[in-house]
């Protein structure tokens, strides 16, 4: 049955997923942003930045328009049972992305790297991005992240050891390079942001897994005790650095830290970082047998 999605129904569901992802901040992120507004010193430019951010969140939702004009790399994470037609799903999704662009939910944001041509469709080689994952459940789950270029540009990958940072191949070394990443990012990634981190893996897998951490809710806790401790420590320590919203100085530098670990080969020890801006656009849906939205995931 799930193999027979109605194309038009699926397309409409995906446009709605894109609209909501682009225009509405997820509840878990909104909650932490409001808490940080409470904590900033009154009358500072850091507080005023967070107030404008709040106004912006409300306005985007009300007007059903993009929270940020950089609607970013369009990343689909699809979990589906065996037999699911990925090719048909991709075709319909590409249509939906182009339709959502015409409606102004996405900016004309995809550029041919060789010719510089932006054909305005948001569809091309590698755009949008799909990550398919097969699971035992009959459910089809589609999650979407829109990741702006400003925050993607401050992402970084370290190969440990790094002598000048005193970063050895252990958790203390990871902590050191991650704090370095926060200081290097300053306000350039539109902080307060969220760090998605992968310890281990090879280079591309490490980056991919670091970005995948951003699918986690901000208020969840890491089931691995040493990673949980590192997440809490890094969040707390980063917020002591005084970088603040937009790099204006202040108490809120990060909203969250999410860390995963992958096996590595003995010769490599990568720590990969995906930085997500405050305009954390992430949503997801479960689709029913016709391709209609059954429920929202965030």
């Amino acid at each position: 049955m799930i193999l027979h999605f109605m194309t038009d129904t699926l397309r409409a569901s995906l446009i709605e997923l894109i609209r909501r992802t682009s225009a509405e901040i997820p509840d878990d992120v909104q909650k932490v942003l409001l808490e940080s507004l409470e904590q900033e010193k009154k009358g500072t430019i850091a507080e005023s930045a967070l107030k404008i951010i709040q106004q912006n969140i409300e306005l985007a939702k009300k007007k059903s328009q993009p929270i940020c004009q950089d609607t970013g790399t369009v990343l689909f994470y699809v979990d589906a049972p065996a037999g699911f037609d990925q090719i048909a799903f991709q075709e319909t999704t590409r249509d939906a992305v182009t339709a959502a662009t015409k409606l102004g939910y996405l900016r004309q944001n995809s550029v041919n790297s060789l010719t510089g041509v932006n054909d305005g469709t948001n569809v091309g080689e590698g755009a949008p991005v799909f990550h398919f994952h097969q699971h035992r459940s009959p459910e089809v789950r589609v999650r979407l992240i829109l990741k702006g270029g400003g925050c993607e540009n401050v992402g970084v990958q370290y190969s440990l050891p790094i002598e000048k940072l005193k970063a050895n191949r252990n958790l203390d070394g990871c902590r050191r390079v991650l704090l370095e990443a926060v200081v290097e990012a300053q306000g350039k990634g539109c902080g307060p942001g969220v760090l998605g981190v992968c310890i281990g893996g090879d280079r591309p897998t490490g980056y991919e897994f670091s970005k995948r951490q951003l699918l986690r809710k901000l208020d969840d806790r890491n089931p691995i005790p040493e990673l949980d401790r590192l997440e809490q420590d890094l969040l707390h320590t980063s917020n002591e650095l005084g970088i603040g919203p937009m790099g204006f100085g202040g108490k809120t530098t990060l909203l969250g830290v999410k860390i995963g670990a992958l096996n590595r080969v003995p010769a490599s020890f990568f720590v990969s970082v995906s930085y997500m801006c405050w305009a954390f656009r992430r949503q997801g849906v479960v689709l029913n047998a016709e391709g209609k939205i059954e429920n929202w995931l965030y």
Partner: protein
Amino acid sequence: MIHLTSPFTEAQIRSLKVGDAVELSGVVFTGRDAVHTYLHDGGALPPGVSLKNGIIYHCGPVVLKGDDGQWKVVAAGPTTSAREEPYQGQIIKDFGLRGVIGKGGMGERTLQACREYGCVYFHAIGGAAQVLAECITRVRNVYFLKEFGSPEAIWEFEVAKFPVVVTIDAHGNSLHREVLNASREKLARLAG
């Protein structure tokens, strides 16, 4: 809150200090990566565009054409300015800019040009595309739309009470440098 309307005088701009909250009104032109490289390499501004005593806004907006043929700004926050660092100082000098709007700050060469020629860097709130789009009261024109594509084109906007913070002034001060140095010192203490 300080209110300023473009075009600006050098004295107005030199009176601003790092940390000042300002509301800007008047005309601004957008320009980002393609425009900066083009101008830096000796490209000419199209007829109708003048940056003298004015502002360039690092922004790639979402703009739709309505059924009435009028442009409508759907989202228009700042983009990361650091990418324009290799070009900005020269463009401030060559075109007589008094203000640059962007986000994330700029480096030493832009700071030197601001000091020498009387210009400031206005930091807008990154990501605040709706609040800032509300401050754009009219799209007057668009240039290089076909050549550079919509986000990279030069859009001519009228703005009213557009909120920014001065983070690089015309006296050699930079909030970005201050915060970077202070956070580096703190990190050295915290990381051990």
